[in-house]
Symmetry: C2
Subunit: 130 residues, 2 copies
């Protein structure tokens, strides 16, 4: 099932670039940054490698409505906040255990309108089949 991935120059530079920025670039934005380092790189290579890096757990993805996927090289436990006006996305470092989630009014200098929680796991049917 698992492929024998190689750490190629392209893959390494994509990973390093993503880890070096504090923003959460789209594939296209990352592609623009990478062109300076690897002039002949193609967008398909960026996508292919991002997917591989995700599969390997080396990066993560931010998916919010109304915009293309954004990629995140920061694997430490954190959440995201998005401005519903300008669309900017920032990291939220917050020890949620100690907070009353529903009572939070501001975070990162944002005025909070709402939040969403999404769980991921395995349903009982799939668990039995494993």
């Amino acid at each position: 099932m698992n492929k024998d991935y190689r750490m190629t120059k392209q893959r390494r530079i994509i990973l390093e670039t993503l880890k070096s920025v504090k923003t959460h670039p789209t594939a296209e934005e990352l592609f623009e940054m990478l062109k300076r380092l690897i002039p002949r790189i193609s967008l398909a290579t960026v996508y292919r490698n991002l997917n591989i890096l995700i599969e390997q757990g080396l990066i993560s993805v931010i998916i919010l409505k109304g915009m293309p996927r954004r990629f995140d090289g920061d694997l430490s436990s954190h959440y995201h906040i998005k401005c519903s006006n300008c669309g900017i996305i920032e990291d939220v470092h917050l020890d949620i255990n100690n907070e009353q989630l529903t009572e939070l009014k501001t975070v990162n200098d944002f005025t909070i309108h709402g939040y969403k929680i999404e769980f991921e796991g395995i349903c009982s049917i799939c668990l039995k089949q494993q």
Copy 2:
């Protein structure tokens, strides 16, 4: 800015259909259901109306990676859980204030592997400009 929306037959049936199911259909899946009720309906109409219903706050959207948007007619406060194996999405009704989020091991008969919190609000720059 706000349009004077009309409740057309298509719009009404789309809303009723979405509210009547416990699943979270994609636009395409909803389109298939609707064809039985309105044979000549088009997928564009489904998309257009879903967007309007969202804008009006009558339905909500679920966005998760690796799948198209899913629509949810249930507006009561709840979260979602997705099976990372089969992809099924279920509602989670949980009073999160009274729980230690990070300690949750099972929900809805799912074995939880993780969760994500996404905040939405307005950043200070946009707030000033309003």
